[in-house]
Symmetry: D3
Subunit: 282 residues, 6 copies
Amino acid sequence: MDLSPEAIREVVERALSEDVGRGDLTTLALIPAEARAEARMVMREAGVVAGLPVLAAVFAAVDPALVVTARVADGTVAGAGAVIAEVAGPARGILTGERVALNLVQRLSGIATLTARYVAAVGDLPARVLDTRKTTPGLRALEKYAVRVGGGTNHRFGLHDAILIKDNHLALLAAQGVGVGDAVRRAQAAAGPMVRIEVEADTVAQARAAADAGANLILLDNMAPDELRAAVATIGGRAKLEASGGITLETICAVAETGVDYISVGALTHSARALDIGLDIV
Amino acid sequence: MDLSPEAIREVVERALSEDVGRGDLTTLALIPAEARAEARMVMREAGVVAGLPVLAAVFAAVDPALVVTARVADGTVAGAGAVIAEVAGPARGILTGERVALNLVQRLSGIATLTARYVAAVGDLPARVLDTRKTTPGLRALEKYAVRVGGGTNHRFGLHDAILIKDNHLALLAAQGVGVGDAVRRAQAAAGPMVRIEVEADTVAQARAAADAGANLILLDNMAPDELRAAVATIGGRAKLEASGGITLETICAVAETGVDYISVGALTHSARALDIGLDIV
Amino acid sequence: MDLSPEAIREVVERALSEDVGRGDLTTLALIPAEARAEARMVMREAGVVAGLPVLAAVFAAVDPALVVTARVADGTVAGAGAVIAEVAGPARGILTGERVALNLVQRLSGIATLTARYVAAVGDLPARVLDTRKTTPGLRALEKYAVRVGGGTNHRFGLHDAILIKDNHLALLAAQGVGVGDAVRRAQAAAGPMVRIEVEADTVAQARAAADAGANLILLDNMAPDELRAAVATIGGRAKLEASGGITLETICAVAETGVDYISVGALTHSARALDIGLDIV
Amino acid sequence: MDLSPEAIREVVERALSEDVGRGDLTTLALIPAEARAEARMVMREAGVVAGLPVLAAVFAAVDPALVVTARVADGTVAGAGAVIAEVAGPARGILTGERVALNLVQRLSGIATLTARYVAAVGDLPARVLDTRKTTPGLRALEKYAVRVGGGTNHRFGLHDAILIKDNHLALLAAQGVGVGDAVRRAQAAAGPMVRIEVEADTVAQARAAADAGANLILLDNMAPDELRAAVATIGGRAKLEASGGITLETICAVAETGVDYISVGALTHSARALDIGLDIV
Amino acid sequence: MDLSPEAIREVVERALSEDVGRGDLTTLALIPAEARAEARMVMREAGVVAGLPVLAAVFAAVDPALVVTARVADGTVAGAGAVIAEVAGPARGILTGERVALNLVQRLSGIATLTARYVAAVGDLPARVLDTRKTTPGLRALEKYAVRVGGGTNHRFGLHDAILIKDNHLALLAAQGVGVGDAVRRAQAAAGPMVRIEVEADTVAQARAAADAGANLILLDNMAPDELRAAVATIGGRAKLEASGGITLETICAVAETGVDYISVGALTHSARALDIGLDIV
Amino acid sequence: MDLSPEAIREVVERALSEDVGRGDLTTLALIPAEARAEARMVMREAGVVAGLPVLAAVFAAVDPALVVTARVADGTVAGAGAVIAEVAGPARGILTGERVALNLVQRLSGIATLTARYVAAVGDLPARVLDTRKTTPGLRALEKYAVRVGGGTNHRFGLHDAILIKDNHLALLAAQGVGVGDAVRRAQAAAGPMVRIEVEADTVAQARAAADAGANLILLDNMAPDELRAAVATIGGRAKLEASGGITLETICAVAETGVDYISVGALTHSARALDIGLDIV
C-alpha cells in the first residue's frame, strides 16, 4: 500500500509551481513572516482517507519549518467532522500550501472512497477490483496508490510494463491475416520472462483462442453475465479473466458472481468526485 | 478562448512519459513500423467538445508523421455518434497515443460540458459562472481553458496573480487586532496597479467593510439568497460581488437572481465526470 | 517586500550550474577539504542593499555547512565600507560561491539603488514609481523584488497576468476597423474578474476613449508634462494614469507634478549598473 | 564569433516561460488567430548589433510559422533608424514574442557596443580586451558571445575550465605556509594538459614568483601603468600578462601602452546599458 | 526489437550537453558555417551493429540539416571495413556530433556483439539469454535494446515493473520468521494481475518451496550444472527457471544443457567492450 | 582528486529514477517500513576503490535516514574480501538503493583499477596517462574522476573547454588550401587566453608545422616508437607531446620510453570491466 517518495515529490513541486509560482501575493502582503498558526484538516463528509504522505510533502516543500502530524493512517474510514491531520508552524506556509494540499488529498480520498464502495459491493466474492490507465495525466502513481488504499488492485502502470493486446491491435493484425493465436505467440517471442500478456476478447471464442495460445490474462470486454459465465467455464482456469466495460456499483456484484478473477472499473479514476475536506485554522 | 501551445506541450510530454515511458510493448511487438491506419474520435455521449488542440499535440508528439484533422471546433455541442476528429498515419503512433489523447480530451470535454450546464442554468441573467483553484494539480491551464470553452469565466490562475483575502487570512489578522479595512489597505500598499484585490465576507457587514476599504471584488461565502440580495443592495455597485460555496445546478439560478456579478463553482473542475469519447480504427 | 524561496532557488541553481559546473578546478586543486574560513561582504560604494536572501541561498547550495549571517536587512542604505553579511565555514565553499553570490547581490543592489534614486526624486508627490517587463530574461522575479526593495512598485509580471493593450495591438485592430472602445470591451469579455485592463494612449483623446470604455489604467506614452496634465484633467479619476517613455532622474519630478498616479521607468531594470560590493576573506 | 544553438534555445525557452507563461492574455483576447502582420526591428540609437540568431530563435519558439529575416549580420555597426531585421507571419506571435526578443537583443547589442568602444580605445596597440565572470546569471554564453561580436576576447567560461589562483586562494594558502610557487606547482599537478593556469598578483614580485613557477598567465590586479610596465619588463614574455581592476574607457589606452597582453573589463557585462532598439509593426 | 524515440532523445540530449555544451570551440574557430562534408561510419572490427537510430538522432540534434543514411539495419553482422552508415551536410555538424555518435554506437554494438556470442554459444538449445539490471546508469533502455538486437531477451526494466524476491529480502524476512512461501503469498497479495513474481533460490529445496507457493519464475543462483538439473527435474515445469551467477562464454552451453529456461548474464551490459567503429570524412 | 557534489547528484537522481521509478515493488510488498538493517560493501576481487562519495549520495537520495560509513578512502587498493563501506538504517532503503549503488561503484572502481594498471606499467618514466572523450554518455565527470583516482590525468572535458584540431578538421581545411600553421593561427585568434590548442599529427613533419605555429600540445596519432622518438627530438620541448592510438598495457612502457609527455588511452573509460563488488546484509 506504499507510495514512493519520489512520485510524491514530483507532483508536489509541479503543483506548487503552478499554484504559488513567484509567490502568494495575499499572504506575503498581509501576514508577517514571524506569525505562527495551527490548522486542522477536517473531513466535511465521510470517506476513506488517502494522501496523508502527500499532505506532509506539500507543507514540507512550502516551508520545512512546518510540522504535519497525521491523526489517522491512509485507508482509515473517517466520519464527517473527524480531524485527520494537523499542521503547525509559520502561518504563511499554512496559508500558501492549503489549496494544493487540499486539492491532492480531496482527489485521492475521493478515489479511495469510490474504490472502497466498489470493493464493498463485491463483498466476499473472490473477484478483485482493478483500476485502468484512465487516470489523470501526471497523477497516475498517486491515483493508483489511492486505488490500493481503497482496497482495489492495480492493473498495469503504462504501455511499458505489460502487454495488453487490444481490439485495435487485433483489428490491424486481422487485416494482415494474423489471428489471435499468432498475436499471442509474437508477443511471447518479444517479451521477456517478467512481462505478462493479456488479450482483449469480445467473444467466448476469442477468449478460448487467446487461452489456447497461452495468454496469461484475458480481458472480457462488455460481456453480459451469461457470456462471462460461459467464458469462465470455457477457460477453466487456464488464464485469469478480467471483466471490463461499463461496470457500475449496481452491476458489479452480478459480474463478480460469474466467477471472473478481476473486474476493472475506469470510473475509479476518471470520474471520482473529490471528497469534501477542509483546513481550519485554530 | 485560446490556449497557449506551451501549456499544452508540457502536459502532453508528461502524460506520454508517464504512460508510454520506454515504449509501448504491445504495439512494438505486434504492429510493423510500416503499417498505416486511420481512426476516428467519436462521441459516445453528447456534450461540449474541448481539447482538440491537445489531441493534435499528443499525436504530433508520438509521431510527427501522424495527421490529425479536427472535424469540429472546441466549444461545439456534439451528439452521441458524432465524429469530432480523425487521425491518419503510422498505425503504431495511433495505438500508442490513443489513451493519453482520450484521457485528456475526455476530461476537458467533461469540464466544458458541466460548465455549459451551469451557464445554461443561469440563462439570460447577467451573472457569470466562475471556476476556482480547485483544479487538478498540473492541469490548471488546460482545465481553465475548458471552463472558458464551456462558457465560463476564469477566476485567478494562482496565488501569484491576484489578491484574495480569505477567511483564514482575516482570522489571523483579527488575532493581531487588524480588521478588514486595514487588511485591504495593506494589500493595496503592497500590490501594483495591475493586481486586483478580493475579500471574502461571511456577513453583509463584512462585505460592506471590504467595499468601504476599496476592495475590487467581494466573495460572499455560503450566503443564502436573501443574504446575497442584502449584500447586493448594500454594496450598490461599489465592488463586484461573487457568490461562492456549495452552489449546484439546482440552486445556481436562484443565486443568479439575487443580482451578484459572479458565481464560482468548484465542482466545475474538481468533480467533473469524464465525457465518454472513443477512438475507432477504420 | 518578500521574495518566494522557490524563485530564488531556481536562479541560484542555474547560476551555479553555469559558473561551477563539474567543479571549481582551482579550489579543488589548492584548498584542502577541511580548511575553514570566514569572509565579509563589504560595500565598496554606498547604496541600497538587496538580495541578502539570495546570498544565503547561494552559499547553502554550494555547501550546507556554510553559515551566512546578514548584518543588515534588505532595503538598508549602506555606506561604502559597511559589512552587510558574513559567511563562515568550509573555505572551499566560500571561494566557489563567491562570484555567483556577488553577481546576484551586486545586480539586485544596483537595481534597488537606482530605484531609490527615482523614488527620492519624486519626493512627497503621490505618484509611484513602476518597473516594466524590460527585465533580464530569467531574473524577473528577483529584479522586481529589488525594485520593491528600492521603494518602487511592480507593474505586471508577464503577459499572462494582466491585459495591456499596446500601440501595436491598437494598430492591428484599427486596420480591421476596431477602435479603442471596442478593444476594451473585447478584453473585458475575455478577462475574468481578477484581471485588470490597461490601455496605451498616445493622445488625450485616446486616453478619454479608453476611460470611457472602462479601462482600469491608462498608459500615457511619451507625453510632455502639459499633455499629461491635460490627460489628468480629462480623465478626472475615472481610471488610474501611468506616465511612461524616456523618463529620467532629471525629468521624473516634473512628470510626477502633473498628477499622474504612476510613472514607469524601464531603466530601473534594463540599464541599472551593478553596485560595487566585495567579499573579503578575514 | 559563433554561438551554439543549444545555448540560445535554453535562454529563449526560459525567457518565454517567464514572460508568456500560460498565454498572452491581451493578444489572445484581441487579435484573431488568422491575422497576419509584418514588423521591423529598428535601431533607435547607433551601436553594434548583436543577437540576431537569438531574435530568430525567440520568434521560432513562439510560432514556427513566423519568418525572421536578418537585414544585417551580428557585428554590424548600425546607425539610428537602421532596420536590422524583419518579422512576418501570424500577428499574435509577433506581439507575444516582441518583449523577450527586444530584451535579449537590446542587452546583447548593449554589451557588443560597449565592448567595441573599449576595443576602439585600445586602437592599434596589441593588447586584447577581455571579459570576466561578472556576467548575468543564466546568460553567460550569450553575453560572452556579445563580447566577441564587439571585438573582445573571452576569458574563461567558468570555474570548471581553467585555473585562476586568486588573492583569496593565496591568502588561505599563505596562512598554511604555502607560497605562490608551490601553489602553481600544486595546480600543475592537478590539472591536465589542456588546462591553463593563471595567477593573480598584486605586486611585481608576486608576478615574478608566479612566472618562475610556470604560470601561463598572470593577472596584474589594480596596478598603475608604471607598475604594469615594470611587470612587463620583469616577466619578459615568460607568461602572458593581464591587467585588471577598475579600468575605464578613459584609462584603457594608457594601460594598453604598458605592453600587457590582455586587459579585462568587468563592466563589459555587469554594467552595460541596453541599447535602444524597437519593433515597429508595418 | 524496436526502441522508443523518446528514450533515444533523452540520452542524446544529455550526451550532447555534456560533450558540446556551449559550443565546439575547435570547429567554430576553424570550419566555416557554409562548408559541407560527407562521412562514412566504418567498422574497424567485425561485430553486430546496434544503435543506428541513435546515430541518426545525434546528428539530427546537432543540426537538422544533416542527412544520415543507414547502409545496414541494426542486428546486421558486419565485417571489418564495412560501411554501416553515411552522414552528409554541414561540415560543422558532422565534426561536432562525431564523438557522441561514436561513443553510443560503439557501446551498443559492443553489447549486441557480446550478446550474440552468448546466444551462439547456446546454439540450438531452447534456453534464452537474459540481461540484468547491471546496466550503465542512464542508458538502461538503450543497452537493453542492444541486448535484444544481439538476440538476447530482456529481464525486468527496473524495481518498478516486476517482483524479484532476492536473497537479501529472504534473509530479512527469515529474521522475522517469514519463509519463502509466505513471502510469495505476500507478494501476490500486493501485486496486480500484470506483475510477475520471481524468487531467488540458492538450493533446490528453496526452489521447490517457491514453486509450491506459486512463483512464476525462479532464479537459481550460482548452482552447478548438476544442481540445476536437479532443480529442473524437481520443478517439472511448474515455474520457469533462470540460471544466474558467473556464467561465461565457456560455461553457458553446459548450463543451457541442464534444461533451464533462461540464463542471465550481467556481463552483457556491465563489462562489454566498445566495438571499434570509426567515422571517416570522404 | 575531488568530485563536485552537483555532478554526483545529477547522476544519482537519474539512475534512481531509471531503476526505482514509481517504487520498488518487491521491497514495498515484503519489507515493513520500520524494519532496520545493516549491510557491508565488500570487494569480491582486488582493485582500486573509486566512488564512495557516490555510494553515500545514492543511499542519501533513497532515504536520508540511512547512514553510510566509508571504511577506506577512494584510491585505496583493496583486496578481495575487504569491507570498503557500511550502510545502516531502514531496511527498505538499503534494498532499494543496492543495485544503483553497486552499478556506479563497480564501474568507477573498474576504471580506477584499469587506470592504475596503465600507470603502473609506465613506472618511473615521466609520461602521464591521459583519458579521452570516449566516456559513457552522461557519466563523463564521474568517469574522469575515476581516472584521477587511479592515478591518471584528465584530458579536456568536452568540445567546449579546449581546442583540439583533429585529422578531420585538417582534411577539411586542406581542401580549402589551409595548412596546419594557418589552422593554429586561426584557432589562436578565436581562442581566449585560457584556452589551450592541441593539434593532431600523423607525421613528424606535421608535428613540426604545428609546433612552429605555436600549438601548445601535439597529438601524435598511431606512431610507432621510432617515429615518436623522432618527434620528441624534432619538437625539442617547444610543445608538449601526446602519444595516442591503440596503446595497450603491453605497449605503453615502450611508448613512455620515447620521451613523450602524455599517453592517452581510450580503453580506460570505453572498455573497462566493472569491478566485482557486493553488498552483504549482516
